[in-house]
Each structure stands twice: as structure tokens, then as C-alpha cells.
Symmetry: C2
Subunit: 196 residues, 2 copies
């Protein structure tokens, strides 16, 4: 497109980013070349360092640079509780609440049969190994409340109950601070069913 194979190669490479088509990739390449060459070096170094350093925690599967992450190394947590989340961002949200002091397992995805993502593509066998370590007695399923997150929770929950563990799910309900009048009916219905 430009008189430069390096520009074309950059546009092609940026298209490997999720959600970035040829139009976005061109806009990104032109912007960086025209206005922000520092960012090009910074992004390149960050990609190379992350690719070289980041691995999965042996216990919880999250991204970490050590064999075992700092949460899993925190001996003051309650080893009987294991909370299952889809991503590190979900784990971070739960940590910010301060309401959970057990350990986590990060699936790094969710079951999505339509996209060909089955149990082997997310960390389910590693989760079973972790959950059956003898110390865990309750597994709290905190996958998202989407169709795929619910399906993932269902599959994991059934398997772990068969293996003798207590399995719970985050409560569905009315978000804190909201007025019933403006909450969708499905949410109100769930909150009624899950009333405490």
C-alpha cells in the first residue's frame, strides 16, 4: 500500500491482534509511523519480554513469571475454598471486593462448542487435579453469567460434584445500588429464585 514492504509487513502483523482488520491495522501503522515511533519500540519490547517471561502458574493456571504465582504462595489464605474464574481480569475483580480469602483457579477461557473450544482447550483437567488435592472442600464457580460461562460452570460443577466436592455458584441477583424499576425482568426473576 505504501512504497515500503516494511509498512505492508507491519500492517499484516498487526492484523494478528484480535478484533483488528486491515482498516484498523493500516490506521495503527500509519499513526505509529507518523506520530509515535517511541511507542513502536515500547510495544515491541513489551511483546518480546512477555513472550519470553510469562508462563502459567503451576497451581492456578494464571499468567505469572514465577513457577507459582504470589496468590498461590500466600499461606494465610483458606485452602478449603477454590474459586474458578475465566480470566485474570475476573480474578482481579473478585480480589478488589476483599470478600474472598481462598485460592483461585483461572481457566483462561470458557467452553464454546460453536467456536470449537472444548474441555481440553481450557484448563479443565488441570483444574480437576488442583481441586482434588485433598485440602479443597468447596469449589465456587465464578465464571461469567453469559450462556458460555453458565455452560462452563455446569460442566465443571457436575464433574466436581461426582468427585465428592461441594460446588457453589455466585448468586444471581439485583446489582447493589439499583432500583427495581430499572432492572431487567430476567434479573429480578433470578433474584426471586435465589432469595435468601
Amino acid at each position: 500500500m505504501a512504497d515500503s514492504s516494511a509498512v505492508d509487513a507491519l500492517i499484516e502483523a498487526l492484523r494478528r491482534l484480535p478484533g483488528v482488520g486491515v482498516k484498523s491495522a493500516s490506521r495503527m501503522a500509519f499513526h505509529l509511523l507518523q506520530h509515535d515511533r517511541d511507542a513502536m519500540q515500547r510495544i515491541a519490547r513489551a511483546l518480546q519480554e512477555a513472550a519470553a517471561e510469562v508462563r502459567h502458574c503451576e497451581r492456578c493456571n494464571t499468567f505469572t513469571e514465577a513457577p507459582v504465582c504470589s496468590v498461590c504462595l500466600d499461606a494465610r489464605r483458606d485452602a478449603t475454598k477454590l474459586c474458578v474464574v475465566e480470566t485474570p481480569a475476573d480474578q482481579a475483580a473478585l480480589e478488589r471486593t476483599g470478600a474472598f480469602r481462598g485460592y483461585y483457579f483461572v481457566l483462561m477461557g470458557k467452553l464454546s462448542p460453536l467456536d470449537g473450544i472444548g474441555p481440553k482447550d481450557i484448563g479443565i483437567s488441570k483444574l480437576f487435579e488442583r481441586a482434588l488435592d485433598g485440602a479443597v472442600s468447596e469449589v465456587i464457580l465464578a465464571t461469567n453469567f453469559t450462556a458460555e460461562g453458565e455452560a462452563t460452570a455446569h460442566v465443571i460443577g457436575e464433574a466436581l460434584r461426582q468427585r465428592g466436592l461441594t460446588v457453589t455458584r455466585l448468586a444471581r441477583g439485583v446489582p447493589a445500588g439499583s432500583e427495581l424499576e430499572y432492572v431487567d425482568l430476567g434479573t429480578i426473576a433470578h433474584a426471586l429464585v435465589d432469595r435468601r
Copy 2:
């Protein structure tokens, strides 16, 4: 967010891409680390090579790896005609029509007073030097038919007319509000023939 400063640094770096906020950057980082480490190396190398190799053509201002680009070096073109475009993508669209055989000048932007982008921020003084080389007799303004592209064409056109050049604009065969890169070739070809 993850238990890894390398992941956090990668998310911060990806936010330097235009149109990418923290949520998109996290999604990109997690996707690459989980599913596409090859792409991380490829994007990093493409960024470094482009940052090192890509400069502006001395004559037309487009991106190139040589001092002067291949279009400017093509001696069979009509040196009396100079077509002004905003981006290399716009130039590529005009070239694909086969309807223009003169030379180009690539502004690498457009005037945008609301964003603080004035004549000094795009290649306007370099354009004046190029257009007043003695060979050019007609400057064809092919900036986009957006408010900013029209304003850019107006400012450039007035200045070049005062310096004695014939200044034309692509005909209004191009639908108002559209970007040249995405206009069908026949429309662009007609607009070139009917330039006013």
C-alpha cells in the same frame, strides 16, 4: 492485573495503539499470550523493522525505505500534474484506477483545528516546495470529501493559486462524507476525468 509485571507492561504498551483502551489492550494481551505467541514475535519484529527502515520520500512525503519512492522515480509520468492526497491508502486507491499518470504528494494527515493539527503538522510547506519546482502546472486536490478534507483542500488551493498554479479538485462524483480508500474504482475514475 495478572501476577506478572510483564503482562501489565504489555497491556500498558498496547494502549498506545490508536483506538485501543485498557479493555481492548487486556483482551489483546491475554489472546496473544494464551493462543498466539508466534504473533507476538512477528508483531515485535515488524514494529522494529518499520521503525528502523521507514522514512518519508524526499519528494512526495509518502512512507518509503529509500530516499525517493518508486512512484517519484518513475520518469514516464506527467511532471506537469501533481495530485495531493491525505494518506498512502488514498494514493493506492487512485493508482488502482489507472486514470492518473502524474505524480503525487502525500500530506500524511489533514488540517484539523479542533485537534490542534495546523499547516505545520502536515506536510504543507514541503508540498509548496514540491509544487513550485517549475515543472508542475496543475495541482489536483484529492483530499477526502469530509469537512476536514474539504478545509484542507481549500487552504492549500488558495495558497497555490496565489502562487500562479492551476488548482483543481476531484469532481463531486465522489459521495460526500466518504473516504477515498473505500470508494469504487469507477466513481474515482469519473471524478478524475471531471475534475474542476
